[in-house]
Structure formats: C-alpha cells, structure tokens
Amino acid sequence: MVVSASRSDVAPSASRNDVAPRYANWAELRAAESARMLAACTACGACFEACPMIAYVPAAQGASPGDTVRGVLALLQGGAGDAASRGWVAACTRSAVCIPACPEAVDPMLLLRLAKFTAQENGTIPPRDARDAMSRAKAFARLGFSETEQKEWL
C-alpha cells in the first residue's frame, strides 16, 4: 500500500528511508493500487460524507454517496463516471479526512488521485493547465535569486 504521507493522524516524525522500491514504475504502482482498491471498496460512501470539498461541487449536491463512489471507481477503470464523481475527483484537494473515515482502509484520497490520473489521460476530465508553471518559477528565480544562487540552487 502506498504510504499516505498526508494522513492527518500520522505522527510528526522524520520519514523512514526505504532503499528498495516497491514498484518498478508508476504504471505498476497504479495497476496494483487500483486492483487493491477495486477489491476493497464497498462504496459505502463514508469518504464522500467526510469530504470538506463536497460543498464546492455543484453536481454532487444531493447526490447519493454510494453512487458517487461507484462513479469514481468507474473513472478509475477508464469509464466516464457521472457528473458528481467527475466533479468530486476534480475538486479533491487532498484534505485526507476520507482516509480515517474509510472502514475498509481503501485510502480514498489515493483512489480519487488515481481516478483523476486516468480521467485526465483519457480526456474525461480536462487537465490542469500547467504550461507556464515551470517558466513562471524560473522567472521568479531570476528576479529573486542572486546569480550565485541561481547557479547553485536551481
């Protein structure tokens, strides 16, 4: 299982150093985690009910928690989901309250993240426009860093 470093119940201590990778690449990680989640999730909807971002998803207002989770599972498998699940996946900001809320230890935060990966890859959800992100970071660096800092820090 992927270590969910953003879990709100994680003790504040230095993270361990794992020398051996557990997966060969992201595709293998995604496949293994997706299979685990699909097997474990019962679509009880506890994650949906715990999420503080639902209030900001118009399509999720009044939606069935279980149906919305089933929509997320469909997105994970490359399907279209429904409006509520697409909106929820797009609005997830990794608050992590869904993780302790899940009775099956699915890690719903990772579920939504992986579903978003797939939905963005197949065009179901529009990708975030990050075209200028790196150029903007560089421009600020040229403004704020000295020449030596630019050479040594970037």
Binding site: P12, A14, S95, D132
Partner: protein, 272 residues
C-alpha cells in the same frame, strides 16, 4: 557532499529570503544543507495531469538525490514531501531520511532556543490546514512559542486541503477559507496571521493590505526572534499599486522583460 539537501520545491522561487533564512537556521542548529529546487528538481506534481511526464521528472529528481549520497532530504513544499514518500519513494527507492524544515528545526530546538534572543510582539494565529502529514501543524506552533514575546493563539478552524494552492482553483473555496480565518482571528484577538507554506503566503499576503492585519510566514517570525534581517519582497510587490515600478526596470531587464510581463506581473496584480 553536504549533510543534507534543503529541497525547497519549485514555486518557492518566489520567496528567496525564506530559502536563505531556512538554510541559515539549519546551519545554526548544526545541519549543513544545500538548497536545491526549481524545475530541475521537481517532484512532478505540476505535470500530474500527464502522469508519464510527471513520472519522468520525479525519477530524475529522486535519482539525483540518491546519487548525491546525501543522508537527509529536508523538505519545504508539502506536495514534494508527500510525493517523496509515495510515488517517488515507492518506485525509485529512497536512500535518505526526510523531514520537513519545521520538523528538522523542532527536533533541534535545544540548539535553537539560545539563538532566539529578540522579543517579537505578536498575538499570532497560524493558518493551518486539515490535510497534513508533514508534521508542521505540530512543529510550527511549538517553534513559534519559543520566540520571546510571541503569543500563539489556538482556534479549532482548519482549512480544507493541505495548503491554499488546491483551494485557489475551486470556486468559492479560497474565499471561504479566508473568511473563516479572518473570523478566527477576530474571535481570538489575533493581530498577526502566520502562514505555513508558500502557496498560503502567496494567497494570504494581500489580507495585509485589505484587512489591516500583519501576515508573515513562520520562518519570518523565527528570523525576527533570531535577529536575522530579511525582506519579504513578494509581499511588498503583491501589495503595491505598481509592482513593476517597485521591482525596477533594471531587475526586470535582468530577469527577462518578456517573461516578467507575461508570467510575473499578472500574478502580482491579480485581485487580492
């Protein structure tokens, strides 16, 4: 080889003084840390909508960490911090320990306390978010309470997400978080809002101009307690009526006028 890398992330390039101060503080408590970040040391998060590209960026960064032989990676950005543990560590292996800067300083607080000699007046409320496994929600209040004169106020409000960045793109979410934080400040009698992460600082410094409160990052406040001078240029630019004039033509030319006009000034001049 240095003891540690101070992996500040990519969007921290807006806040050079925090990188300098953080590096200085680590050195002062016995950790020699080389700052590293920017696009060449990216965790891949900005490109996550194209996972194949994000994976390549993350792999390059993790390989460079492992090849450096560093014993510790000290993080700043919570997104980088989480990615280091999950996708990067799970697929590349992580050969160094990692901790957030706030944790690293808190763990060495015995060395920090004698350096905090300057009283700093402030009734501060910290902009905390729910989703955080970096340890900052515990470490930052502890660090600020070490500064003579600072009163750290408690309030149960925690904003969604793990920093303000995620909220900014969800209609209504950031405005609600700001309103709740201002209400918490009023309820507690706070005069200073302390940001934890760079994106929160970026989103909240405008409140200094619009609401007459002081907005500082926790590193700034710690620096004041240590008597370290600094200048928060991003805040000054963001709250200026004419950031272009404040930055100055010479610096803009040196940074690349076209890039500054296209990428920097629109961010500084957006509505507060």
């Amino acid at each position: 080889m240095t003891d540690a890398l101070f992996w500040y992330g990519c969007n921290m390039t807006r806040h050079a003084e925090i990188i300098r101060l953080g590096t200085h503080m680590l050195e002062a408590v016995g950790v020699g840390a080389q700052p590293t970040g920017g696009p060449s040391a990216c965790c891949g998060a900005p490109k996550e909508s194209t996972p194949r590209i994000a994976e390549g960026m993350a792999n390059r960064t993790m390989n460079s960490f492992n090849e450096s032989g560093t014993k510790q990676v000290i993080t700043w950005c919570p997104t980088c911090h989480m990615n280091l543990d999950d996708f990067m560590g799970a697929t590349q292996g992580k050969q160094a320990e990692s901790a957030h800067l706030a944790q690293a300083l808190w763990q060495r607080r015995d060395a920090l306390v004698p350096l905090l000699t300057q009283p700093v007046a402030g009734r501060v409320l910290i902009d905390m978010h729910i989703g955080n496994g970096t340890g900052v929600n515990e470490a930052v209040p502890g660090l600020l309470r070490l500064i003579p004169g600072v009163t750290v106020l408690d309030h149960p409000y925690r904003a969604p997400s793990y920093m303000c960045f995620g909220l900014a793109s969800i209609p209504g979410a950031l405005a609600d978080a700001k309103a709740s934080m201002l209400a918490a400040m009023e309820a507690t009698g706070a005069d200073t809002l302390v940001t934890i992460f760079h994106s929160c600082h970026r989103e909240l410094v405008g409140l200094e101009r619009t609401h007459g409160i002081r907005v500082v990052n926790w590193v700034h406040l710690l620096a004041e307690g240590m008597g370290l001078p600094y200048e928060d240029e991003y805040k000054a630019w963001r709250n200026s009526d004419d950031p272009e004039a404040l930055i100055g033509a010479e610096r803009i030319a040196a940074a690349g006028e076209e890039a500054v006009r296209k990428l920097v000034l629109p961010e500084l001049m957006r509505p507060r």
